[in-house]
Amino acid sequence: MDRRKIEEDFFKGLMILSTAIIVGILFAIVAVVVLKGAPALSLSMLTQTPKGGYYLGKGGGILNAIIGSLYLAFGATALSLIIALPVAFYLREYASERFANFVRLSLDILWGVPSIVYGAFGFIIMLYFGLRACLLGGIIALTLLILPIMTRAMDEVMRMVAFELREASYGLGSTKLEVVSKVISRQTLPGMLTAVLLAFGRGIGDAASILFTAGYTDYIPHSLFDPVASLPLAVFFQLGTPFPEVQERAYASAVVLLVIILLTSVSSRLLTKRWSRFVIK
């Protein structure tokens, strides 16, 4: 038989196998979490905060952690956006190529820093200011974690903009600010949204950065200076108990977290499609 034909079939087979592994892992995770968490899933879990003895198997829910995670992730995403957008604009139209590459390298290194390090760093800063674990501390630590991700993702999207489109905008007498804010930002809107949601998804699922900085509580925080619960830590603490029914609740909490991330992905797909209407191909 033809050697090239065998080669082709063999490597194609390998590629299909690898792809199957990736998709299989996703389904396996979802299946395990859903199967193990199913007995504990209930409406009261979503609508109540933990009652006395919750961690011993008594009544209540994880509303504190759901609300807490949303506060933390939205707060950090908003704060990151405020910082990431100017950086991305600056790298796109203002910075010299050399300096921009230096900033990109820095961001890539920050991207690789483990989240526990951001947690520890945030904790030291909070000690310095005399803050105890609270929502604000958690938001800041999470921001440190997701800021490089958001900035770098935005930067990559903006670098893809065709030279001719920028040239056309400058050709009409635009300033740099007008080019980035009126033309490039519209052209890249779908990609920018993806960058924001990528950061959001990374932020809402992280446990280590908020372990020391956000703390944990059975209550819903009323101010930025109250401690706050979160879904990843709810999973962590409940899984750490010796009671099977509480461990089931850990898996149920993981289901809630997965559903939030899934909804974020789906809505980002839908929005991206809608916002692509004006994009020039």
Partner: protein, 254 residues
């Protein structure tokens, strides 16, 4: 010396791109309210010269430029000049149509808006007027709010022309403005250009010799970064003085 009134005077323009001498001591005059065609083989510096005329060349990294480009008595490379003002005065139509990522209406209104026009009524008038000048109004008047990306390439190029005209330039530069278009769309763009020359100074780069013959009143022949010959179109095409011009027009070099 030329008898016409020059609108743009280029004096001893030298341009280096990463050490390569791309434009060599260019001195040319471009007549007012006529069509000037810059012709020459690929890679001879036509587009570079064109983009030097409204400083779009500034966008390219690694460029070193010296010499003067005088428009209305003012050197556009002088440090005192505001580059956005230069580009408002000297518009550009690119090789491929590149509409802005917004609606048809907003594409034309973009320029007037950034230059301070706010009133809806006046903008409406400008948009309609320049879409008409570019020969696009009848095709798009019922869908001004739809994305410019939905137009055909030929329509997009006419939109880009309307967009350039809406900032009210004195000079229009065209960088092979029909090279990405089908023959019918190309013809429409050419017709618009001919109609425009009563009000505007037009400079086009073209690698299509017959297009230069159809459109140009004045011709600049560039070869490897040098101006070999410049003069009225009739003289250059019918009676070229330089050997290389003869060879190029005769189709021996391309």
């Amino acid at each position: 010396m030329p008898k016409f009134k020059p609108h743009i005077r280029v004096k001893n323009l030298n341009l280096f791109y990463e050490g390569h001498h791309a434009l060599k001591d260019i001195t040319v005059d471009i007549p007012e309210k006529e069509i000037t065609a810059i012709i020459g083989p690929s890679g001879c510096g036509k587009t570079t010269l064109l983009k030097s005329l409204n400083r779009l060349i500034d966008l390219v990294d690694g460029i070193e430029i010296s010499g003067e480009v005088i428009v209305d008595g003012e050197d556009i490379y002088s440090t005192k000049v505001d580059v956005t003002y230069i580009r408002k005065k000297i518009g550009m139509l690119g090789q491929k149509p590149y509409p802005l990522p917004m609606s048809i209406y907003d594409n034309v209104a973009y320029g007037p808006r950034i230059h301070g026009m706010r009133k809806k009524k006046e903008l409406d008038g400008i948009v309609e007027h320049y879409l008409e000048v570019a020969g696009l109004w009848d095709e798009v008047k019922d869908r001004l709010k739809s994305p410019a990306s939905m137009l055909s390439a030929g329509q997009q190029q006419r939109l880009c022309l309307a967009r350039s005209l809406a900032v009210e330039p004195e000079i229009i530069l065209g960088d092979e403005p029909t090279s990405a278009l089908d023959p019918i769309s190309s013809k429409r763009i050419e017709e618009v250009f001919i109609a425009l020359k009563k009000d505007y100074t037009i400079v086009i780069v073209t690698h299509i010799l017959r297009q230069a013959v159809r459109l140009a009143d004045y011709v600049i022949f560039l070869y490897m970064g040098d101006v070999i010959e410049q003069g009225p179109a009739k003289e250059i095409f019918e009676n070229p003085k330089e050997e290389r011009t003869k060879a190029y027009i005769g189709g021996e070099i391309s």
